[in-house]
Symmetry: C2
Subunit: 479 residues, 2 copies
Amino acid sequence: MSARAPWRVLNENQIEQLHQAALTILARTGVVFNSPEALGYFRQAGARINENRVYLTPDLIEHALSTAPSAYKLHARNPANSLTIGGESCAVMPGGGPPFVRDLEGLRRPGRLADVENFARLSQMSPDVHVMARKAVEAQDVPAVARHLECWRAVLTLTDKPAQSGFVYGRAEAEDALQMLSIVFDGENAIEGKPVAHCSVNANSPLLYDKPMLESLIAFARYGQAILISPFVMAGVTGPATVAGALAQHNAEVLAGMALVQLVRPGTPVLYGTASSNVDLRTAAPAIGSPESALSIAICAQLARRYSLPCRGGGALTDSPIPDAQSNYERTMTLLISILSGVNFLMHGLGILESYLTMSYEQFIIDLELLAMVRRLVEPFEISPEALALEAIEAVGPGGHFLEAQHTLRHFREAHFLPQLSLRQPFEQWEQEGAKDAVQRANDRCRDLLEAYVKPNMDTDIADRLHDFVERRKSALLA
Amino acid sequence: MSARAPWRVLNENQIEQLHQAALTILARTGVVFNSPEALGYFRQAGARINENRVYLTPDLIEHALSTAPSAYKLHARNPANSLTIGGESCAVMPGGGPPFVRDLEGLRRPGRLADVENFARLSQMSPDVHVMARKAVEAQDVPAVARHLECWRAVLTLTDKPAQSGFVYGRAEAEDALQMLSIVFDGENAIEGKPVAHCSVNANSPLLYDKPMLESLIAFARYGQAILISPFVMAGVTGPATVAGALAQHNAEVLAGMALVQLVRPGTPVLYGTASSNVDLRTAAPAIGSPESALSIAICAQLARRYSLPCRGGGALTDSPIPDAQSNYERTMTLLISILSGVNFLMHGLGILESYLTMSYEQFIIDLELLAMVRRLVEPFEISPEALALEAIEAVGPGGHFLEAQHTLRHFREAHFLPQLSLRQPFEQWEQEGAKDAVQRANDRCRDLLEAYVKPNMDTDIADRLHDFVERRKSALLA
């Protein structure tokens, strides 16, 4: 998916002001890094440090930006699914991380490993899903210490697309992930310097990185794996109430994380991320489906281009707990603004409800339709003699019709988007066929898709080694 | 509402090709005008005519374009509600014309005069509605010959915003409308050369204008009332299957209608309209919520700018029969693309369901929320020292929070969009409060709004004359 000329919220001068604001914050207020290892990197680079607070100079930031790539190849175990992140392309990932699931019986309940598996199956089958979430939901039926192992195994075996780690809590989890990825790519050094999985890192806004996040950042960066830095600045709580202020702080947090990645291993890909938005200042509840959320996505895409960094943003976002009208007007706005703004990596592109708290099967299926529609919208548009059809117009003439024209017969198969889910039929026919709304139709379609799933091939030897690793580590962790 | 720098689908060269394609169609294939009066205007201008088919030269088109204004003031009977159509602004009108209503009991039934009145009341109360639809629905409980009188009376008395005629079927209806508008603006010549109502005119695509449409075009244009020309080219049936071909023909149809308006009265405002879209080529059903519909809107906005004409496009469009997920993802896409593309007059901005066949109260209320969100998205974005909040960020520091910061207290009231309808609250609280979805909440809100409605003032003398006129004409027509 490509964005055409991106839609822009700010002019260049305003973007420059957000850049200068971040530099001021970094040099004057500084950023706390709660990890001796991280502090070591900054000390070695000559940064001024006071306890755990690092003051980053414009020079240090500029130098780091000079080694961060503007695009990179993200490798899949099936090379046909490898893809470039950056430039004009936009790769899509489903939702990842919610603790709850809205299941096909209409029940909201804690996520399970079976849900992680099902969303992996649905993603594998969907041409508009390019990158897998390691954990579409929290698998709450698996003990917390072993959860990452089970989720990685599910995603790495049930799909052959590249994966996104989601949050990784500390060094041990990071090392397990890197080991499993090495097995799948068939060799200890197979993934070194070869991005095969994104690692998500968030600041604890404002301006603080905690130890587990820093450990996983450092572990993944040492392998040259792409690091996705997405502060979750909630304007009014973890950042200033004004969106401009929240984004100034956000920008400082991304640049600080980016600088650390480049100090750990220069040239490692960094995605300029955003999950920043606002809270409803009447209740302090997060508002991820808000216009402010969409504006933040669009402005961060502009900032990422300013820095020549690939951009992660947005998704199909909503604060509604169910896949209703609100869920769909909010998500269509954030999704469309993300794509039109030129985001390169669309996280949370399918299934998210309730401010990231719930993944919905039905909404996932609806979002497949929505993504296919948006893809159509940003495809190249052909203007050619054949497309302009002047001969057909002359042949049909005033008052005629085109249903049986040769030109129509030549084009009717590919000329228009053909929905899989959306209705276009007489009211009476719809009533006779059960008067199902879009959610009920999505429910039917989801069951059909899960039944039709076919597992991708995996070398038996690799599969065995992967399972051995998981079982061995599980035994150790659960002992 | 303004669009920032518009989102563009085509480059300038491609727009020029659509222009040249239209000129070729107009000169070679020609356009049928089924009205001796219209043919008279073209004959007088020196156009070649064969029976009812007029061949329009590039010169004739260029000359007409030179007298059509790029913007105009649309006057309301309450001057505070007058507004400019054109430039960077976007005026919004609710849906108009559907034969059916989806009422607050959840029933789809034929439209009634009471519905026309209710939608007028809701529109009067809504800051994001700028122009009224004369008939939000067909008032099927009023005899067809007198329907226009009752609907005009309802809209002119229950609101004091400017109105849109919708389709006017022939000279008599047009003259009635112009008489009633003259009464409301207090004088026989009060509206001459002063746009107070849009007149909608569609071609019978391909390339044919029928007699009733031409009669109303000529009647309104003689008074200098703005003419909105919106071909309804359905790619694959009433135009070529390719969107490019459909738009080449569409462009020719608009230019032909625009030329006639300028021949009738040079300088009369013409809106470059579009209702063009595609049909589902599996069933020949219209698809107004399709990506092709959104693309047509965006490209027509570019064409209108090419011609320096104000642009009418889009709306909140869907093919779903109910206000469900489909209704809301389709309408959010077409609405957002309309606004981002720089449309000046958004027709069908609220309430439309089922490919223009149904108006929904609940969807109307949902669309108010959607429009308020989009307005927020395209408002100027402030980057200033106060907005960037560097002092607040320094004062709070790493690991702090902004809930009680002075900066937050200064800004929390206006910093974010405050929804009227969208939920942002804990799941448990939502369940306790009845677990209402967005449609149920919209239903509640609609009843509240209708109860709170206050009729705008109207001079007693004017009101009396208006009612006398309607009663006299009704007697004559129903005799």
